[in-house]
Symmetry: C2
Subunit: 126 residues, 2 copies
DNA sequence: CCTCCAGTACGAAACAAGTCGAACTAGTGC
DNA sequence: GCACTAGTTCGACTTGTTTCGTACTGGAGG
């Protein structure tokens, strides 16, 4: 950043100045056992499934899901998903938006996301 | 049982008197989050993968895997896999043999077992 | 500058899971 | 009956996970 205060016409970044992703494992670093662990929680399955099914505007702010848990709990779960490599998160001003790393996950673990999309929560889901 | 001490010629059980499986969830009761939880452990992934790859004699006794852990630990992990619905276990005399419930798992969670078969343990695998 | 607001960081309490030793159970074979 | 053996059960310890309250950070808007 900086270094460009005047007299510039050519585009610096192709699309629209995307914020950098928060720290996450690279595609080659994804570990099956870690991803499965991240997905073995009903709340986190709910989050990922919702992102997969209702992916409308590319990615969603963290509070968009109708999850009535305290904010600190949500932070915890979103971070678990990001650190496992399931979600990518970017900071947009105040809010942190998430989307599923479908490309990477389909490359490394083909079929896994389909299982998540087809999942339905148990009846006693809280 | 009992009730048949003499004069019986017709076969009672079609094939070869298979011992009944230990208690396990029915196919319809399998829960994705539970199965993923059971598979989110390196040792258990090792067990299931080994069964998938080297399935020679249909099913294997519990001590057949070259796992150097105390027996009580192995009991724990094999039970976790059975109760999640990943393995079926039958008692053959002294030993308890396990095999993967491929039919049920492929029906409910297609592709999942392929991921397990393709898994390779981390380098620092204990 | 001050407030509002999305979300984080920290830390504690509650709970679940992994690990393992020691004692036990139950077939098998002598 | 006795020893052997595959595996279980129990209980203790340790480690990790979940949950959440409270305090904090940092951009946006007046």
């Amino acid at each position: 950043m900086g270094m460009r205060t005047s007299m510039v016409t050519e585009p610096d970044v192709p699309p629209a100045e995307l914020p950098p992703p928060l720290p996450e494992p690279a595609r080659e670093e994804l570990r099956l056992e870690v991803v499965l662990g991240a997905l073995s929680d009903p709340l986190r399955l709910t989050i990922v499934r919702k992102l997969l099914l209702e992916r409308e505007a590319y990615d969603h702010p963290c509070g968009w899901f109708g999850l009535d848990r305290p904010k600190s709990s949500l932070t915890h779960h979103f971070r678990a998903l990001r650190e496992a490599g399931v979600l990518r998160q970017r900071q947009y001003g105040l809010e942190r938006r998430s989307h599923v790393r479908t490309e990477d996950l389909n490359a490394r673990f083909p079929g896994l996301l389909d299982l998540v999309a087809d999942w339905e929560p148990a009846s006693d889901q809280k």
